[in-house]
């Protein structure tokens, strides 16, 4: 239990995916303009991350490792994730139309979100058990949500700020991200044991 808690806090705050590990930067910069879109995207990411961690862990443990096919991890994982996203989309559309409506637009984007493939590669690297890797996926998703929502608040402020011409758009966004990222360095000293 204690290990799971350490993983949870670790993946969420200490090694926040977006702000300290640079995973999932594209959606972080792409959909953080408004808090409502940020919430929708984060919901979809948490959902897919938890599912994909479970499925890729099983695929790795029962298909790749026993057959000594570890070198196929990258291909297998990305195809499993792409298929899973497609599957989730179809199922949600049929069974939970309201949830589909709020997450639907974001789902196709998640295949190319490096946070999803990244966390699959990390559980291999760290030899996580099934439960650990699912918790890790969940925590990584929460960390992503936290960063995205915090940052969308900052960006809504930036909209009305007076910014030098050359800095308009992406440059000022990146500099703001840098400041938000500094706050997360504060968690670096946090060690749970």
């Amino acid at each position: 239990m204690k290990e799971l808690f350490a993983i949870l806090i670790g993946a969420m705050l200490v090694e926040n995916f977006v702000l300290t590990k640079f995973l999932g930067i594209c959606p972080f910069l792409g959909v953080s303009k408004k808090t409502s879109t940020a919430l929708g995207m984060s919901g979809a990411v948490v959902f897919v991350l938890v599912l994909s961690q479970a499925v890729t862990w099983l695929a790795n443990e029962y298909l790749l490792v026993p057959n000594k096919l570890e070198y196929l991890q990258t291909i297998t994982f990305i195809l499993v994730i792409a298929a899973l996203v497609q599957f989730v989309e179809t199922v949600l559309k049929k069974l939970m139309p309201s949830l589909y409506k709020s997450l639907g637009v974001y789902l196709p984007l998640i295949t190319t979100n490096c946070a999803v493939l990244g966390s699959a590669l990390i559980f291999v690297e760290r030899d996580y058990t099934f439960v650990e890797s699912v918790v890790f996926g969940f925590a990584a998703g929460l960390g992503f949500t936290l960063a995205l929502i915090l940052f969308s608040g900052v960006r809504e402020r930036l909209e009305t700020a007076d910014i030098p011409e050359a800095f308009k758009g992406m440059p000022i966004t990146l500099i703001a991200a840098s400041l938000v990222s500094i706050t997360f360095i504060g968690f670096a000293g946090l060690i749970i044991s």
Binding site: L19, T20, K21, F22, L23, G24, I25, C26, P27, L29, G30, V31, K33, K34, S36, T37, Y71, L72, Q73, T74, I75, I78, L79, A82, V105, P108, L109, T111, T112, N113, C114, L117, G118, L121, I122, E125, P164, A166, F167, G169, M170, P171, I172, T173, L174, I175, A177, S178, L179, S181, I182, F184, I185
Partner: protein, 226 residues
């Protein structure tokens, strides 16, 4: 003659006019994550260029056989294959850089640059031009992340390619090799790039084909929702 001119412009396109990192803002994750040292930038750039050239070549060869409906999984498989090749090559030939780059080598699969070029270019052009495009885009990416890496390494560690350069000039600020420094240096470099080049065609970004998931296309998703 015109033919040669066209190939040349395709090759040079990626360096400045459509620089994938500074102009199109594609592939941000590796551009920020591995650029704590100039050497890592070079290594990452070389690996991504290899995948770009390979996948552009194969995709332009199979573009007429693959049905439109399954094109995305087909392209992903091609890209993942080349990524696996580069992963194994790096592990065998450059173990030290491979260790530094870590999971960002397999993550080349989800690098928007590669998928965007497959959709935008290789799908519509012949193998020769596609390879040139891959080389040009790869060179542009390598150049950009090597510059970011150099700035961060010099300011943050006081060295360049591992050689000390700022011994008596100033005390290196470690912040630049930490994550916030990545965002900061990237922000200033993109601003500089905007200042130095013509900003007019800045809005061509959304046609890069990687969907609205990329920062350059944020307008599409936010505009559409508003």
């Amino acid at each position: 003659m015109a033919e040669r001119k066209k190939s040349f412009s395709v090759l040079l396109n990626g360096l400045i006019k459509e620089n994938p990192t500074f102009r199109l803002l594609l592939g941000m994750c590796p551009s920020l994550a591995v650029t704590t040292m100039a050497k890592n930038g070079l290594g990452m750039g070389a690996a991504a260029t290899f995948v770009l050239v390979g996948s552009n070549l194969v995709i332009s060869l199979i573009r007429k056989i693959v049905p439109d409906k399954v094109r995305i999984p087909a392209y992903i498989t091609v890209i993942a294959t080349f990524t696996t090749i580069v992963q194994l090559l790096m592990a065998a030939l450059l173990p030290e850089i491979n260790k530094q780059l870590g999971i960002f080598i397999p993550l080349i699969v989800v690098n928007c640059i590669i998928f965007a070029r497959a959709e935008m270019f290789a799908q519509k052009n012949g193998p020769f031009l596609s390879v040139l495009d891959g080389l040009g885009m790869g060179a542009g990416f390598t150049l950009a992340i090597t510059i970011i890496g150099s700035v961060r390494e010099i300011l943050g560690a006081g060295t360049w390619m591992g050689i000390p350069v700022t011994v008596n000039l100033f005390e290196p600020a470690i912040m630049f090799i930490l994550p916030p420094g990545g965002f900061l240096v990237m922000g200033f470099l993109v601003a500089l790039f905007n200042k130095l080049t013509n900003k007019k065609d800045r809005n061509a970004e959304c046609e890069t084909g990687c969907g609205v998931g990329c920062p350059g296309c944020s307008k599409a998703v936010n505009g559409g929702e508003a």
